[in-house]
């Protein structure tokens, strides 16, 4: 479940926040940990908008702390769920 924080930001009942911060940046936040994700706008085959992210987008927190593979997958899922809630698809570039 998500709640809107504003028109471009949502918070999950799991506690994480996904907030668009710029034309090419979206912030993923868990408590005091943050990842600024570079995104490029795209269009899915069905015409729906999507954000294109890099495969390494969730390799580490912005403070440099590395993120293990399992957590990367979890964060990617969280991020995708939050974007889907906003009716935006997520495409990992090159995958």
């Amino acid at each position: 479940m998500f709640k809107w924080l504003n028109k471009q930001g949502v918070q999950s009942d799991k506690g994480y926040i996904v907030q668009v911060t710029g034309r090419f940046t979206i912030e993923y936040r868990e408590k005091n940990k943050v990842i600024e994700v570079y995104v490029e706008p795209g269009i899915l085959d069905n015409g729906r908008f999507c954000t294109i992210i890099e495969p390494h987008a969730f390799h580490k927190w912005d403070d440099g702390t590395p993120i293990n593979k399992d957590r990367q997958m979890e964060i990617l899922k969280n991020f995708t769920d939050a974007m889907e809630f906003q009716n935006i698809g997520v495409v990992v570039h090159g995958e």
Binding site: W4, L5, N6, K7, Q8, G9, Q19, V20, T21, G22, R23, F24, T25, V37, Y38, E40, P41, G42, I43, L44, F49, C50, I52, I53, E54, H56, A57, Q86, N87, I88, V91, H93
Partner: protein, 275 residues
Amino acid sequence: MPDFNIGISYSDTTPRFTGATNNGLRPMPNIKSHHHHHHKHKSKLEEYGKPIAGGLILLAGIALLPEAVLATMGSIITGVTIGPIVEGATLDYLANSAFVQAATRAGAIVSSGKYLNIHSIFSKTKSTQIISNEIHPLSGWTVKQVLSKAEQLGLETPKDSLLLWSGLGSSGVKLSREFAEANGGMTLEMTRGGAWLDKMDLFGPNSPVSFSEAMLIWKRVSLLTVRNASGQVRAVIGQVSPKSIYNAELREILSNPKITGIDELQLRPRFVAGR
């Protein structure tokens, strides 16, 4: 989230709230109509407010009003002054009131909710203001109005000048501009309409539109720019995804008979977006 559908008016240079509703019937506002609408809705505000002494009672009543009316009221509350109606309501009340929540549903930008100078209940002398930088300059604009304004300002590029870019990361606007300045050409962001849109910054917590609406606006403006272009088009690109909007631009190029061809330049062959 609701589609954004609150009315606006334009001043000479910067659009401001006047609290006017936009039900799709009113034409694109213009400078001449600004004062008219402002006056009209200020009067409406007074009309609602004068007969009722208790602002909170009125607020409770407002919460029951149709959303079209709430849109008007919401605009007022997020505009410069709330005025006599809700003047004096407490900060917490305003932030949590059914009125504000309903106005938000109607599209008013009150989520930031940073009200200043809210004083004792039913004060008749203090005014309520919203922090100026919390109000997005396009608050109240519809997607259609934003697109019209960008187009009106101009999305044309001289023949052989259009320079597209994609896959250059968050500094793509800057990189492509630098390339254009050094080698000639004009990017979307260098057209009058594109520069205006870029400056308006439709992305972020303060944006008046949803993420998908903001993307839609940029996509439409981008395709309009390609549609207006002629001659040879150039593109500076990094790592371009097959899903990128750039591919939609390429399709638009193919359908534009005025465009003779496109020269793609891999500006940073090893560039990987985001690194």
